[in-house]
């Protein structure tokens, strides 16, 4: 028993001694800060260390890179890892140790983004379709939520408000916690029912393909009890694709080839519908891209 007790004491001390010092984090952060490019992404390994990485390097992390719709749009990925953990198995092009913190960097085969719909949502036309007519939603500064558990994604201060009596009926950029609780920067477009909520983007450079992602907020999707949500994508009034999100699928994606359409620019419409809009906190992200790259 003396051996067991001694082992426990030594193991306890050893575990604590393995914790990286603040100085290690600071040196690793300084190393990355000196080399990071404008289209680079920073991640933590293991993922629970992410707040520490953001504490040291958060000034370099945009909402887009903190909550990307996929990883195919970054030139390089920097990883600050501890405890021998890594987010990737392939060898990095750069690796440097700072005490208990290991910095690794990979070059990625990034797509060139021609048009990011999330960035451009303020310039879209948003409307509620009601039969043959439609009701426009206005881009306004509107009251926001207080924040808190179960409150869903935070509304931006400016957004399209479609019906002030239904405070959830707005369209705008936010960050969704998807089914795996991964952050996703996306456009909140809560369906109202079988008739669509529509966002229309004009004169969009199409590139080679249109990549679309969508999902429902974690708090709602995890029950796996909601109606499927359909996101229809129209390019120049032609139905180009349909993403049907069923609870349990998590952050879903769809790629639409656009290189063979015969035109470089077009009007692109996103229509969201569902049979029962209860707790359908649906959010989507899309971009047109010029080169092929593997999705996340």
């Amino acid at each position: 028993m003396a051996a067991v007790a001694s082992f426990e004491l030594i193991a306890d001390v050893w575990i604590r001694a393995q914790v990286p010092a603040d100085q290690s984090w600071e040196e690793a952060a300084a190393f990355v800060r000196a080399r990071i490019g404008p289209n680079d992404r920073i991640v933590a390994a293991p993922s629970w260390a992410d707040p520490i990485v953001r504490f040291h390097l958060g000034a370099l992390v945009t909402l887009r890179s903190a909550a990307p719709e996929d990883s195919a749009r970054f030139d390089r990925m920097w990883e600050l890892g501890i405890r021998g953990e890594s987010t990737r198995e392939d060898p990095p092009v750069l690796e440097q140790r700072f005490g208990g913190v290991r910095v690794r960097m990979w070059e990625l085969a990034a797509d060139d983004v021609a048009h990011d719909f999330v960035d451009q949502i303020a310039h879209a036309k948003v409307e509620l379709v009601q039969g043959d007519a439609s009701r426009p939603c206005r881009w306004v500064e509107a009251p926001r939520g207080r924040g808190g558990l179960g409150q869903g994604p935070m509304a931006p201060d400016e957004r399209f408000v479609c019906d002030p009596s239904r405070p959830w009926l707005w369209v705008g950029p936010t960050i969704l916690a998807d089914l795996t609780l991964t952050p996703r920067r996306c456009i909140w477009q809560h369906p109202v029912g079988p008739e669509p909520v529509r966002s229309t983007f004009f004169d969009v450079p199409l590139g080679d393909r249109l990549v679309v992602h969508g999902g429902v907020d974690y708090e709602n999707e995890r029950w796996r009890a909601g109606s499927p949500v359909t996101l229809r994508i129209w390019i120049s009034d032609r139905l180009a694709g349909e993403l049907v999100h069923r609870d349990g699928e998590g952050w879903s994606s769809l790629a639409i080839e656009t290189s063979s359409l015969g035109f470089d620019r077009a009007t692109v419409r996103f229509e969201v519908t569902t049979e029962d809009p209860t707790a359908r906190v649906f959010c989507w992200a899309a971009s047109t891209r010029l080169t092929e790259a593997a999705d996340e």
Binding site: V19, L63, M154
Partner: protein, 550 residues
């Protein structure tokens, strides 16, 4: 183990010393802990009950009107009243005489007292049946379990029910040979019923044990049989104490008791991370109480407990193996085993809520500590015969060494006891790798109070995340947070936003990013390198109030 030894005055002196020492230690370390969510609700309840008690003393007829009772007691009706009454009386006494250095201590003291009494009881029961060194070890091993130490500070019911649960079992056990203990068993059971619903499993455990003992006695041909006097006392006195201490059920008694039972049988399920999965609805893994015990109770205590069980294995043989003329005992080990396993098995049911982690089966741990003492004594007795005959100091040194891991880890766990995991889990970072619950109740906010005081020297506001406004108000009442640092109801209006790190709180993290337009925390509270709280600064706050500018 002996069947039962009479306790001496010296035993109670040791028990009293353990009790007083632990209560003093808890009192001196309590200010490090902000109130937990549940504590803040019980404090609110206690204040309402205190107002009713004051009315009862000054105008009893008015206080006893149903409207008056319902007004005071309708809050937090989902738990019986005994401990909240204790909190209320303690607070009233503090109001009158200023007994405590902190307001929060006025509410916490009664529960701390039960923690101290529980050590006394563990020692007393241990000393009744085993070498007193083992009894002392059991009490100290229980006291130095990190999670126990955390919960022992709180104005909650988990440590009190562990005390009354064990007290009932002890009085029952004494009553088997001495009927004078039967009324005390009834009273203890009533106090347990009036503390928390964990008590509901006691009659089942005791009946199984009683049947076990009686069958053995019958098969052995003993004319003297264990007394069943405890049962009518428990059935009669138990409900009387429950109802008598709980004015809420004085009206519509059956309806309200039914609501109380229904609340716990159909309890809502909160989210709880376990081995990388955030569980929020049944079925929950059967392994939860066992793995959490493995990961949070010091390994040395667990190994000793396993040795103790192995050492007592002959006592667990089924009554059917008893033959005529065999000697009989009260099968204390069987009772302890039942009291240890029943709380674990109840939580292991896939439908049982798991959100509170170890606190839900803390009633098992005093018995685990006693089995650990059995295991240690087995080693010591063997060593005193074969390895260090005639010398006692090596035994004392071994006892101390076996307590040391728990003591060291408990000291390190404070004030983040719910985030602590033992080396079996890989410590705090290992548990984070495994995806174990990191905290709940929002009490860790107390650990960022110094940072907030420094960041807001001229006052300001903080969005509290999982910390209740009641808990924040208590930090202010205790002087830990200045009153000019107020709780903000919205992230957007706050100078600083707190995020308590649990997976399902990532939603809140992302809300803060959008609300404040930054993903960079101004401060991250870490425990062994694992994030516990992130604090975001609102870029729109009045910069002139920043300390570096002022």
């Amino acid at each position: 183990m002996n069947d039962a030894r009479a306790l001496k005055r010296g035993d109670h002196s040791v028990g009293a010393a353990l009790c007083i020492g632990y209560v003093v230690l808890l009192g001196r370390t309590a200010s490090d802990l902000a109130m937990s969510r549940d504590e803040s609700f019980y404090v609110h309840a206690a204040k309402r009950y205190a107002a009713w008690l004051s009315k009862l003393l000054t105008n009893p007829m008015a206080a006893l009107e149903q409207q008056s009772i319902d007004f005071a007691w309708s809050y937090n009706w989902e738990h019986p009243a005994l401990m909240k009454l204790g909190f209320a009386w303690s607070w009233l006494a503090h109001q009158q005489w200023g007994l405590y250095p902190l307001e929060s201590l006025a509410f916490r003291f009664p529960a701390m007292l039960t923690a101290g009494l529980l050590l006394w009881l563990i020692y007393a029961w241990g000393a009744s049946v085993m070498d007193r060194r083992g009894a002392l070890f059991a009490a100290l091993a229980f006291a130095s379990m990190p999670r126990v130490f955390y919960h022992a500070h709180l104005a909650c019911f988990d440590i009190p029910i562990a005390f009354f649960f064990m007290l009932t079992a002890y009085a029952y056990w004494r009553s088997l040979a001495d009927r004078r203990w039967a009324p005390l068993a009834g009273v203890a059971f009533g106090l347990a019923l009036a503390t928390k619903h964990n008590s509901w499993m006691l009659p089942g455990i005791l009946l199984v044990h009683f049947a076990w003992v009686r069958v053995i006695q019958a098969r052995a041909g003993r004319r003297e049989r264990a007394s069943i006097a405890w049962l009518p006392w428990m059935l009669a006195v138990g409900p009387m104490i429950l109802i008598g201490t709980w004015p809420w059920v004085w009206n519509d008694t059956w309806g309200r008791l039914g609501s109380y039972a229904a609340f716990h049988f159909r309890h809502v399920h909160y989210t709880y991370e376990y081995l990388g999965v955030s569980y929020f609805k049944p079925p929950f893994p059967v392994s939860v109480p066992f793995v959490m015990t493995l990961f949070t109770v010091p390994l040395t205590v667990l190994v000793l407990g396993a040795l103790g069980l192995h050492r007592q294995r002959a006592s667990f043989r089924l009554p059917s193996s008893t033959e005529f003329g065999d000697t009989t005992t009260r099968r204390t080990e069987v009772l302890w085993l039942g009291c240890m396993l029943a709380p674990l098995l109840a939580i292991a049911l896939p439908s049982s809520p798991i959100f509170g982690g170890t606190k839900h089966w803390l009633t098992a741990y005093p018995f685990l500590a006693l089995f650990s003492a059995c295991g240690l004594l087995g080693i010591v007795e063997m060593a005193e015969l074969q390895i260090w005959p005639g010398r006692r100091w090596p035994s004392v040194a071994l006892l101390g060494l076996c307590l040391l891991p728990g003591a060291v880890q408990t000291a390190h766990s404070h004030p983040l006891g719910l985030s602590h995991y033992t080396p079996v889990a890989g410590g705090v970072p290992g548990a984070a790798d495994l995806g174990m619950n990191r905290q709940f109740w929002g009490f860790t906010t107390g650990s960022v109070a110094p940072w907030l005081r420094e960041a807001l020297p001229d006052g300001g506001s903080v969005w509290l995340c999982d910390t209740t406004t009641g808990a924040w108000a208590m930090l202010q009442a205790d002087g830990i947070i200045p009153r000019d640092i107020r709780a903000a109801s919205s992230m957007l209006e706050a100078d600083f936003v707190l995020v308590h790190h649990e997976p399902h709180f990532k939603e809140v993290d992302y809300q803060a990013w959008v609300a404040l337009g930054t993903v960079q925390p101004a401060y991250v509270l870490r425990y062994d390198g694992v994030p516990i709280i992130s604090i975001y600064e609102n870029p729109k706050r009045d910069r002139s109030k920043r300390p570096e500018d002022g």
